[in-house]
């Protein structure tokens, strides 16, 4: 069987027949006038280089530093996020869920791969994988451990299963020791994984280590 076994990553060497099959399909659709090559390239450019988790990091860092924005964000995330210029496909109904000392949030789509594109871009391979989709709802604590995230015994984990067109973004807790940090510096602590909820925002110390 030419397909990768599910224990492999999704990105193992693609069989060449798959490359050929996709090329043939694209040629067919172009020849029939159903798609324009320049439109395909523009779509790829948008999601490979323009729309990505930096948008979400901007939203989070602004929420950490601007109480008025945070209030607006919790009331109506779609509108608040649009005020920063992020809107569109897979972000039509955005909801922000906030981590606190006793509640941690985790986002999944058990039925497919729903994900807030406008603020995070396209989902990572693991988010779309069977292991994550199966266990994020049934054993979230073990899932977090696989990402190296240990929560206190007392904290409740809330898993959000994206079954409708509502899209969920986690607002991580602001790391300690960042009291005087600017919004721009804070953005560097906000990983994509923290906004999905499998990790916490980086501490200043972690950031220094990552930078080395």
């Amino acid at each position: 069987m030419p397909h990768g076994h599910h224990h492999d990553h999704d990105h193992t060497e693609p069989p060449s027949d798959l490359e050929l099959r996709v090329k043939a399909l694209e040629s067919l659709l172009v020849e029939k006038g159903l798609v324009k090559p320049e439109t395909l390239n523009s779509i790829i450019e948008t999601y490979e280089h323009k729309v990505g988790p930096r948008n979400g990091a901007h939203v989070v860092a602004k929420a950490w530093t601007d109480p008025e924005f945070k209030q607006a964000l919790m009331n109506d995330a779609t509108e608040a996020v649009a005020s920063l210029g992020y809107c569109g496909r897979q972000g039509e109904h955005l909801v922000v869920v906030e981590n606190t000392n006793d509640t941690h949030n985790l986002v999944v789509c058990t039925l497919c791969s729903c994900y807030p594109w406008t603020v995070l871009g396209l989902p990572p391979a693991w988010y779309k994988s069977a292991p994550y989709r199966s266990r994020a709802v049934s054993d979230p604590r073990a899932v977090l451990k696989e990402f190296g995230t240990e929560l206190g015994e007392k904290s409740t984990i809330r898993t959000w299963d994206s079954t409708s067109e509502m899209r969920y973004l986690v607002l991580p807790q602001r790391p300690a020791g960042t009291e005087n940090w600017s919004e721009q510096d804070l953005q560097k602590l906000v990983s994509r994984n923290a906004m999905i909820g499998v990790e916490l925002a980086r501490s200043p110390k972690q950031k220094d280590e990552d930078g080395k």
Binding site: E19, L25, E26, E31, L40, I44, E92, S134, V137, N193
Partner: protein, 222 residues
């Protein structure tokens, strides 16, 4: 419908093995880029909606669905839709022969400017309601067993469980109908379930929140 896609709570799926965030590219091969763009671009022809698209992927053999990589499932779904909607025929698709240069109907094929505009505006799923919601915040609701052979968005693991309505989300396009090309609004609720009510091995320290449409729900026994 039962299918390989309904993965919540399935066992034996192995470790997640996430690729480190800083190292993961958006696409892992050029064919993935092309499948992604082809799916979005053909979607803009307006011949199918998001639930028809999901359903086309879900209808595969369950084992194939799970074994395929993500974009292979997109490719399968796209080919299914192109055939079923008559945009290509099997001879063209499989044998690459007898390609007719014109499709039978006149379609508007987006250029990059229009495509960018479409992506930036999105497709909200909210609709006008013509009735009152049946459930309110705090109500106990039972998730009915799903018997549809078609597309649905009620996960298997929630069926038969009792939860609490924690938010009314308004009236939204109902996926079960939308997948059949029927645009109809139903009330959507956010329902909270305690982990222990879903999984025997779970703890009270876990909570699962699921967005569920009114037809999926019934009043709980007490």
């Amino acid at each position: 419908m039962k299918g390989g896609h309904d993965l919540g709570g399935q066992l034996e799926m192995g470790p997640i093995n996430p690729e480190p965030e800083a190292q993961e590219p958006v696409f892992h091969a050029d064919w993935e880029r092309r499948v992604f763009a082809l799916t979005l671009a053909t979607g803009m022809l307006g011949k199918w909606n998001i639930d028809e698209s999901r359903h086309a992927r879900e209808r595969q053999d369950p084992l194939t669905y799970v074994q395929n990589s993500y974009y292979e499932n997109w490719l399968e779904g796209l080919e299914t839709l192109l055939l079923e909607k008559g945009l290509v025929d099997a001879e063209e698709l499989v044998l690459a022969t007898n390609i007719s240069s014109q499709t039978k109907e006149l379609l508007s094929v987006p250029n990059p400017t229009l495509a960018t505009k479409i992506l930036a505006s999105g497709v909200p799923s909210t609709m006008e309601a013509d009735s009152e919601p049946l459930y309110y915040i705090g109500d106990s609701v039972l998730v009915k067993a799903s018997e549809t052979a078609g597309h649905t968005r009620v996960p298997k693991y929630a069926q038969g469980a009792t939860g609490t309505v924690v938010a009314q989300l308004g009236c939204h396009n109902f996926p079960d109908s939308n997948a059949q090309g029927i645009h109809e609004g139903k009330f959507l609720y956010r329902v909270s379930f305690s982990g222990v009510d879903l999984w025997s091995h779970s703890s009270t320290q876990t909570e699962v929140l699921i967005d569920l449409w009114e037809p999926y729900l019934g009043a709980a026994a007490n």
